[in-house]
């Protein structure tokens, strides 16, 4: 007779997040992307504390210099240190990316969960999503920037006004994909037994959403978060590049690129760094999202 009492598993039990991390580690590109993204974030936020020059300090005698030990990235047409400007610009670009992503994500998750959970609201909310998807985003963003720049700048100050405007504009025009994905997942979850079980012991709608539905749709939300950051950074840079973003003396990566393009014939190398900053950040975040998608999908995990 075999011994049935010994049912101990061969390996010690570990949490779900350990599994996720284990799978994530296996994706080399995603791991590298995550590390590079962290390096960029730390670099732009901690770097200015260590670096001697201020991003707005004008030294007209040192203008248009090439790379040197004092100015590793060179200086611009007003003698401002480009490394300091890159770090200051990165702070704004990444801050815009993260905040706009959070706004789009909360809007999208809210609409998606409400539409998936309450049958009556599903139709109207999804029609609304379709309508938003049919809007021409870039032209509308440009129009919004043109219209609300002046009033908001005078109300809360030029930099903060534009920051709020850009974040809100990007947030309200990019929540639709998240809403669609989340709704689909919620619709599938609602048919599962554990939801029925929770319902049968009298769980209220509010608890149902916060305790049972939300934790289970967390993985698609996290994946669209990474895509949202990339999208928001590119959009902000595009607006700044077109001259309709932050004011000229306020550095962001898109703005620096725009400045560099104006001096393209004389100092072509100046285009390189801001463009690299944008591209590297977006590339690393995209890889991060790719790995996260694999790691959070239990059907792929463990293979």
């Amino acid at each position: 007779m075999t011994d049935t009492t010994n049912t101990e598993p061969a390996t010690p039990p570990h949490s779900q997040w350990y599994d996720v991390w284990h799978q994530f580690k296996a994706h080399k590109g995603a791991l590298l992307g995550g590390i590079i993204f962290l390096i960029i974030v730390f670099g732009v936020f901690i770097g200015p504390l260590l670096w001697q020059y201020d991003a707005t300090y004008i030294d007209i005698r040192a203008r248009n210099q090439g790379p040197s030990l004092a100015h590793p990235f060179g200086t611009d047409q007003l003698g401002r240190d480009l490394l300091a400007r890159m770090m200051a610009g990165g702070q704004t670009s990444i801050a815009v990316g993260l905040t706009a992503m959070l706004l789009a994500l909360s809007l999208g998750s809210f609409v998606g969960i409400i539409a998936g959970f309450f049958k009556k609201l599903d139709g109207p909310l999804m029609r609304l999503t379709d309508l938003f998807l049919a809007l021409p985003i870039l032209p509308l963003l440009l129009v919004m920037m043109m219209l609300f720049r002046e009033p908001l700048s005078s109300a809360v100050g030029p930099e903060r006004g534009i920051f709020i405007l850009i974040v809100v504009a990007i947030g309200v025009t990019s929540w639709m994909p998240t809403a669609r994905i989340v709704r689909g997942d919620v619709l599938a979850l609602k048919e599962r037994e554990f939801v029925l079980a929770a319902r049968s012991i009298g769980t209220s709608n509010k608890n149902m959403i916060t305790r049972h539905i939300l934790p289970n749709v967390l993985s698609p939300i996290m994946v669209s978060a990474t895509l949202g950051i990339a999208n928001a950074i590119i959009t902000e840079s595009a607006l700044s590049f077109l001259g309709l973003g932050f004011p000229p003396d306020f550095p962001t990566w898109g703005r620096l690129l725009n400045d560099a393009v104006q001096y393209l014939q004389d100092y072509p190398e100046r285009v390189f760094w801001p463009g690299l900053g944008i591209s590297l950040t977006v590339l690393s975040v995209n890889y991060l999202g790719d790995g996260l998608r694999d790691a959070l999908d239990p059907r792929i995990r463990g293979r």
């Binding site: 379709d130 309508l131 049919a134 809007l135 021409p136 985003i137 870039l138 032209p139 509308l140 440009l142 129009v143 919004m144 043109m146 219209l147 609300f148 002046e150 009033p151 990339a230 590119i234 840079s237 595009a238 590049f241 077109l242 001259g243 309709l244 898109g254 690129l257 560099a260 393009v261 393209l264 014939q265 072509p268 190398e269 285009v271 390189f272 463009g275 944008i278 591209s279 977006v282 590339l283 995209n286 890889y287």
Partner: protein, 335 residues
């Protein structure tokens, strides 16, 4: 299928009306004054008359209605008159630009060919590059080619056109001097040399836009091919003794193209949006540049008309994608 198409067409009308209303209401909030450029010596009552002449005296809903009539009724008549020499639109009010004091549509018709050439050509080039890449990387999944393809498409996704644009300008115009720096819109093709010049000045904007298209479409093509390569009918085709070439390029490819064709239709409006930036980088004098110019000059009728045209493109191609999907895939039945 026909009823579905008609239903979608009817559904598109309220969508378009809603979008035009949103754009109109947004522009209603504009603080800019079209009279700001008028000299100070002009007395206020004359200014008021000029304002009325621009149609600004009416309440908002009447102006919205008039814009709708002008866009959907008068302008098509103008087009019809122009094509067949009739006089339906004689003496009717058209949408007037505040910037040029002429009809908006005349400027659009002037600018559209440049955009269409650059955008259209880049889309075709992008698709032609993307399809073979997608097919081959799916066929040789996880091979070196596939890995490299994945990396290049990731880069195509991540590097925005306002960086690749200046980058190729620095490389090919400033350093190597192969291609002209600025797109010359007045250039006319009359002989072989001018044709070569036109080709040379188009290469850079077209390739920059095509990179974005290639990245997207090749991803979809690869995924769709992978879905189909493991199907039973592929094994049957191989078992029948068909050559590998026929199996992949006829049986699998035709079925894999179904979702890709709809993605191609859906992506076209987005490429027009991307053209706004590319036109700015290469100084192409297209409708994207017109939109930016109108926004900076506070020319609201032009902004309204152009933005709506972009929205119209999106709705129109969404519809085409839906209908195409139903036609190509006999399993999809909408009714």
């Amino acid at each position: 299928m026909l009823t579905f198409t008609i239903r979608r067409l009817i559904l598109a009308i309220p969508t378009l009306l809603f979008i035009s209303l949103v754009i109109f209401l947004l522009l209603e909030l504009a603080p800019g004054d079209p009279m700001a450029q008028v000299p100070l010596t002009v007395p206020p009552e004359v200014k008021e008359k000029m304002r009325l002449a621009l149609g600004l005296g009416e309440p908002g809903y009447i102006r919205f209605y008039k814009w709708l009539v002008q866009f959907f009724w008068v302008e098509p008549q103008i087009l019809f008159d122009h094509m067949f020499g009739t006089t339906f639109a004689e003496g009717k009010q058209r949408i007037i630009s505040w910037q040029h004091r002429g009809p908006v549509m005349d400027v659009v018709v002037e600018r559209l060919p440049q955009t269409l050439w650059v955008v259209g050509l880049s889309y075709i080039v992008g698709i032609l590059i993307a399809l073979p890449i997608g097919i081959y990387s799916a066929y040789k999944q996880y091979s070196l080619f596939d890995q490299a393809g994945t990396f290049i498409t990731m880069i195509g996704y991540s590097i925005p056109p306002f960086f690749t644009g200046p980058l190729v300008i620095v490389l090919f115009s400033v350093n190597l001097g192969w291609f002209p720096f600025i797109y010359d819109t007045t250039h006319e093709v009359v002989d072989w040399d001018s044709f070569v010049y036109q080709l040379r000045q188009m290469i850079m904007p077209v390739m920059v836009l095509a990179l974005q298209t290639t990245a997207q479409i090749s991803r979809y093509m690869r995924a769709s091919m992978l879905d189909n390569l493991n199907q039973d009918y592929v094994r049957t085709a191989r078992a029948k003794g068909l050559s590998e070439r026929v199996v992949v390029l006829v049986h699998v490819l035709r079925n894999s193209m179904i979702p890709v064709v709809t993605v191609i239709a859906l992506g076209l409006p987005a490429i027009f949006g991307g053209a706004i930036i590319t036109e700015q980088v290469f100084s192409v004098n297209g409708i994207g540049a017109q939109l930016i110019g109108a926004i900076q000059a506070n020319d609201l009728p032009t902004v309204q008309t152009l933005t709506f045209m972009f929205a119209f493109l999106i709705v129109f191609f969404n519809l085409i994608a839906d209908v195409l999907y139903g036609i190509l895939d006999p399993r999809i039945r909408y009714d």
